[in-house]
Point group: C2
Chain length 328, copies 2
Amino acid sequence: MSVPSPVLARFEEQLGRWLSRFGGDSPVYEMVAYHFDLAGAGQRGKRLRPQLCLLVAEAEGARVEAAFDAAVAVELLHNFSLIHDDIEDNDRLRHGRATVWARYGVGHGINAGDALCSMAYLALLENAARLPEERVIVMSRLLHEAQLQMCAGQALDMAFETAPAVDPGAYLQMIEGKTAALFRATARMGAVAAGAAVERVDAYGEMARRYGLAFQIQDDLLGIWGRSEETGKPSLADLRKRKWTYPVVWGIAAGAGAVEALYRTGAGLDQGQAEQARLTLERAGAREAAQAALDRYLGEAEAIARECGLDRDGAVRTFLAQGGRRSA
Amino acid sequence: MSVPSPVLARFEEQLGRWLSRFGGDSPVYEMVAYHFDLAGAGQRGKRLRPQLCLLVAEAEGARVEAAFDAAVAVELLHNFSLIHDDIEDNDRLRHGRATVWARYGVGHGINAGDALCSMAYLALLENAARLPEERVIVMSRLLHEAQLQMCAGQALDMAFETAPAVDPGAYLQMIEGKTAALFRATARMGAVAAGAAVERVDAYGEMARRYGLAFQIQDDLLGIWGRSEETGKPSLADLRKRKWTYPVVWGIAAGAGAVEALYRTGAGLDQGQAEQARLTLERAGAREAAQAALDRYLGEAEAIARECGLDRDGAVRTFLAQGGRRSA
């Protein structure tokens, strides 16, 4: 069960309508439109976050209309972060197309992301016409706080690139910011849009945060053990790029000394080294440890939902459990 | 008369207090703090915008306290744009110190700017404790709209770098976004903080917009005819970098063919070419044309203030006229 596709179709329509409001003589509008490629036939983002927002609002008794602006805002903010991450991570391709900076240059990439950032919050403020003002202010604050936490996580992730070692605590802090914060804010915004009480808003946030962490660890697992057809990335890509992911951090903590030595050199791994590293991580139990952590987070999410009486028909969890088990 | 320095001192204190609220294990906080260098003894920004915000609020009968959060927000947003502009313009120095990206790398520079962006709006939302919620929403919208216009202007400015020719209309559009939009939003926010009526809010915006345009043209004049000691930049820097500025665009439109030919090559100018270009522009009357445009905008600002009964004791205009006549 995900959001019934008519709702997703209506979300896409809202998103397209919102983006089409912005235009003018500056080339920045064309760049933002290029990123979304709404008229194109190519692969899209999965719209995980906006669907989460809409589903939580519905679970709390609101009509989806109450949360459409917030859902658009969340998706735009996510894409703002993708445009900047693509520069920061030197990624030239996304969904098989040149990234904004690869096509227009780094300067325009930064600037187009900044423009999209403002469009995200302007979408959120549209709510002021529909919802009580204090809710709009709360949602704005939640999304801005998430943006700051995402930056804190991203700075850690970039710092890891040159770090000789990364401990589990630092890794968890990184994904709390980089991935979980926006999941948490998204669910809270959906609940706020529906007018839920503060405790329920926060409980939804805590539930969604667990899914965010599980989602990231799943992504990490796929980055090492996923097949190329499944992930859309070259096999072993994360190891070859010497990325610090959950299995690597935990594998090294559990004694995978060969991986530690390879990572300590600071250089990327060649195909043979990456295959060797994968085997070493497997033998150290890193794959099982990551899977266990993932399952633990899903279990915690379930427990929160049950204890707090969230998501009574299970639509949010079913959707997230599916999303959290696929690649980004 | 500018804002009495006790108010500026209190603003600095507010700014420092706000920035000190953010911290944690991520290196991003250190980078933001590095940019502001609040503990350092070096040259600071002139805090033109926050002072404008506070002065307008006072002119509309509010105590400065009502606008402090908005003033902090405006200054932070301005600095977010500076951090990103420094990357986009490849500038390694600001106030004699390494820019954020020059010190920490492009990726961290982008990310630290994004973090500061969220801090700006969080400051604005602090107002919700002090001011009616609808005012906070209006101010948020104004600042986000200004951010988008700044991006639109910056995209044009970057596009100019490789353009064989730039016409006066495009140049004006660029500075409307890049410089005037934030001046306009700042003044409007000060008026909104004070609870002024919509027509007065907009009139203050139109007045400040003229000062923003004048301010930019003054900066353009200094970039060609300013002395190094005055501007802190190498003499003729703008011409050497082949920047499209008011005197260049108007000079070429008025027949400065030699400058047109130099700019059309797409390359920077050497010292001799830049000196020649300056002479050619002078002969074409570009300096006087720029000064006349500047005076016209100041005159329009004055007329708006008079007609609408803004700024009755003249404090805002006196402050802006001084600021607008100095370099950025």
